[in-house]
Amino acid sequence: MSLAAPASTGTAAPARPPRRRGGSGRHRAWIPLLFISPWLVGFLVFMAYPVVYTGYLSLTDYDVINDPTFLGLDNYRELVSDEKVMLALRNTFVYTLMSVPAQLVFSLVLALLLQRAGRAAGFFRTAFFLPKMTPPVAVGVLLLMLLNGQSGLLNELLGWFGINGPNWTTDPDWVKPGLVVTSLWTVGSSVIILLAALQQVPDELLDAARVDGASWWRRLWHVVLPIISPTIYFIVVVDTIASLQSFTEAYTAFFGAGNTTYSNDAALFYAIYLFQQAFEFLHMGYASAMAVLLFAIVMVVTAVQVMLSRRYVHYTGGAR
């Protein structure tokens, strides 16, 4: 078989590629941009510009009404010496260290149970996800009711086992554990994600392990968890970021208008103090510096998690 050469046209210039309708290549490059422009405009106006402007405000004294006055790094110096910033950071880190593992383990346990639920799985999936649909403000109010030291449901349950439950909402030692307990109520999305990951674990690997005499626990530890480790990693990263920015539930329960003037230092999370500085005391410049610091902290923590993931997260097929 041979390929026939195209007939020569003698001295004629090589034919130009046919011009497509729709303009030149340069113009065509704009077409995709045009289609994503609603998102781009939204991103620039509602994300990029505010972030850059927040960075600028962090270098100023700004009370919303009067023009910002440039202060240089004064706000950042004040941050370092502000005891409440340190308290809020400590509270936030402690809460994150308690809530992220607790939420992960609880989600995993629920997902493993759901995997065995058979035909009832659909009902339980919905049931577990419903609390996630509850507005966080409602969860904050619910927290006060469920964890009330006198009449709360949790202490009622503990009472069945002869345990005299603590004053979760007023005892500083129990405020953060109480918030963690409440956060477990809204792990629905993590449960669904983990369940999807569990269903992707190849049966042949589990069968092989079973044939080799591996117990349920060893199959979980040595087969299942390594395979779903990318999902676990994703959940840890997302939950960590969310915990570092915790606000609504704690604010509603301990700092909102319904709580009159009683607040509890143990629940003063960083985002709450930031909110107070910005919108109660009108220290918008200082609050912006706090936001920048929180952004930096989240970046560093996430970067550490990314580095650790190289060692502990197993990607099948090497795909990252």
């Binding site: 106006v45 509602f46 994300m47 510009y49 505010p50 972030v51 402007y53 927040t54 405000l57 700004y62 009370d63 919303v64 009404i65 009067n66 023009d67 910002p68 006060l144 009330n148 030291g149 006198q150 009449s151 709360g152 005299n164 004053n167 909402t169 007023t170 005892d171 500083p172 970021i241 969310a242 570092l244 920015q245 606000f247 609504t248 604010y251 009159t260 003037t261 009683y262 607040s263 509890n264 230092d265 143990a266 985002a271 930031l274 909110f275 107070q276 910005a278 919108f279 109660e280 005391f281 009108l282 918008m284 609050a287 912006s288 936001a291 929180l294 952004f295 989240v298």
Partner: protein, 458 residues
């Protein structure tokens, strides 16, 4: 709210306020406004923070609309959103009139968000002599009036008469005139079961009522000029020690708050009706709640009293103010005048009386910052009967005649936060009262110094 949310809100501020920088030091204010009570007005008065939710509001609003002539009134209902308000001022598009807490006026004035009302008061002929001094003081910043006071809020001693009687006490033992007697009644009325608190003997309502107890003990938390924090005054420390001891006698604040939070505060199972609270100081509006939801509760009322037995009340309330750059200051001023003048209050009270009569309820009075109006409305309310509700109304008006207020200052919220934070630390057992109040004074003074320095530089 996540980081995105925080940045988003900051962003909204930037978009609205930041982009409109430059309004801060302008002198537009209301300098070209001409206030005249006989002038014919037009345009639209946009009012932020005021809701016409009952007959007291609608009656006065109708009068205001009539007096405004061709000018229309547009309400942005709901509680004042400070962020929204300040952003609107910064962007040069403020409402015509704002309805705010009196305690916020000093902060707004110091930042230039509201304007002095000297010309407005003079032009519209607003008689400031009818306003209670404590109310007027609260809206007077650096010797200029920035707000027209409206409602007044005071505290009363509210008690369960049955619990008092069963424990061998009377209302006089819990009205605050004798702190030892209060403590004894507290102990006698407190009930526990299996280590759990069942009945709160006395609730001193910390942290919010520290200023009341301090004043009853002869001290002010802040100097009259609003520049010096006096939180570590020995009399304030003593007041805090006593108010905390009331909780300690019942097993601690945590126990009391847990039981307090479990109550159906606004329902017929409230603490008094259910017999789970002996006595507490509480704002007068709660009398209306109790009368509505549990009219047969065994109640007893008195004013709160100082150690000399004199009535005492910490007054707070609302006020009208004109934002800087108000598009219609003349109409705004007239509306503020009509909403707070004596005739309007009387008309509103008459409407409330008629409404109560129709519903078969009791008219429990209206408390305003206008002394003339209060005197006339007092005559419409039952104050001479033997029943508890008449006692309540009588006590309310007596308390209203013996009020004090916190002077306006440019760091109102930070000052309040400073002492409340430290009182909370005492309540949770993290600090003792003297140390806590010393720290509170330091934090509050720093906030005051910074805020006043900014104001003084202007």
């Amino acid at each position: 709210m996540r980081l995105g949310g925080v940045v988003g809100v900051l962003a909204a501020s930037c978009l609205v306020a930041g982009c409109a920088q430059g309004t801060g030091d302008s002198e537009e204010e209301t300098s070209d406004a001409s206030f005249d009570s006989n002038a014919t007005l037009s345009g639209t008065v946009e009012v932020m923070g005021f809701g016409a939710g009952d007959e007291i509001a609608t009656t006065r609003l109708d009068r205001a609309k009539k007096e405004l002539g061709d000018a229309k009134v547009e309400l942005v209902e709901g509680d004042l959103d400070i962020q929204q308000f300040l952003s609107s001022v910064a962007s040069g598009k403020p409402p015509s009139l704002v309805y705010a807490e009196r305690s916020q006026i000093g902060t707004f004035a110091s930042r230039g968000a509201v304007v002095p009302l000297t010309d407005c008061i003079e032009g519209e002929g607003i008689d400031t002599s009818v306003f209670r001094k404590s109310a007027l003081d609260e809206v007077t910043f650096d010797d200029e009036v920035y707000g027209i006071p409206e409602f007044n809020v005071v505290q009363l001693t509210q008690a369960n008469a049955d619990l008092l009687q069963q424990s061998g006490h009377t209302i006089d033992d819990v009205n605050g005139s004798d702190w030892d007697a209060v403590l004894q009644a507290d102990k006698d009325m407190t009930k526990t079961q299996g280590g759990d608190l069942q009945t709160i003997g006395y609730d001193s309502k910390l942290p919010e009522f520290l200023p009341l107890w301090a004043k009853a003990n002869g001290a002010d938390l802040i100097s009259a000029d609003g520049r010096t924090a006096q939180l570590d005054d020995p009399e304030v420390v003593e007041a805090l020690e006593w108010a905390v001891s009331v909780y300690d006698a019942q097993g601690g604040f945590g126990e009391v708050k847990a039981l307090r939070d479990s109550a159906d505060f606004f329902g017929d199972g409230n603490q008094f009706a259910s017999g789970t609270l002996g006595a507490m100081p509480m704002e007068q509006w709660y009398v209306n709640v109790l009368n509505d939801v549990s009219p047969n509760a065994p109640m007893a009322f008195d004013t709160v009293r100082d150690e000399q037995g004199e009535p005492i009340a910490w007054a707070s309330g609302s006020a009208w103010a004109i934002p800087k750059g108000s598009p219609d200051p003349e109409a705004a001023c007239r509306m503020a005048r009509v909403m707070t003048e004596t005739d309007s209050w009387i008309a509103a009270a008459e409407a409330r009386v008629a409404m109560r009569k129709k519903d078969g309820g009791l008219f429990t009075g209206i408390l305003t910052a206008n002394e003339d109006a209060d005197e006339q409305i007092r005559a419409m309310a039952p104050t001479d009967g033997d029943d508890a509700w008449s006692q309540a109304v009588a006590a309310m008006y007596e308390a209203n005649d013996h009020t004090f207020s916190m002077p306006a200052n440019p760091a109102g919220d930070e000052f309040e936060q400073a002492w409340q934070d430290e009182v909370n630390k005492v309540l949770t057992g993290d600090k003792d009262p003297a140390d806590a109040l010393a720290d509170a004074r330091e934090a509050a003074q720093q906030a005051l110094d910074e805020a006043w320095a900014t104001w003084d530089e202007k």
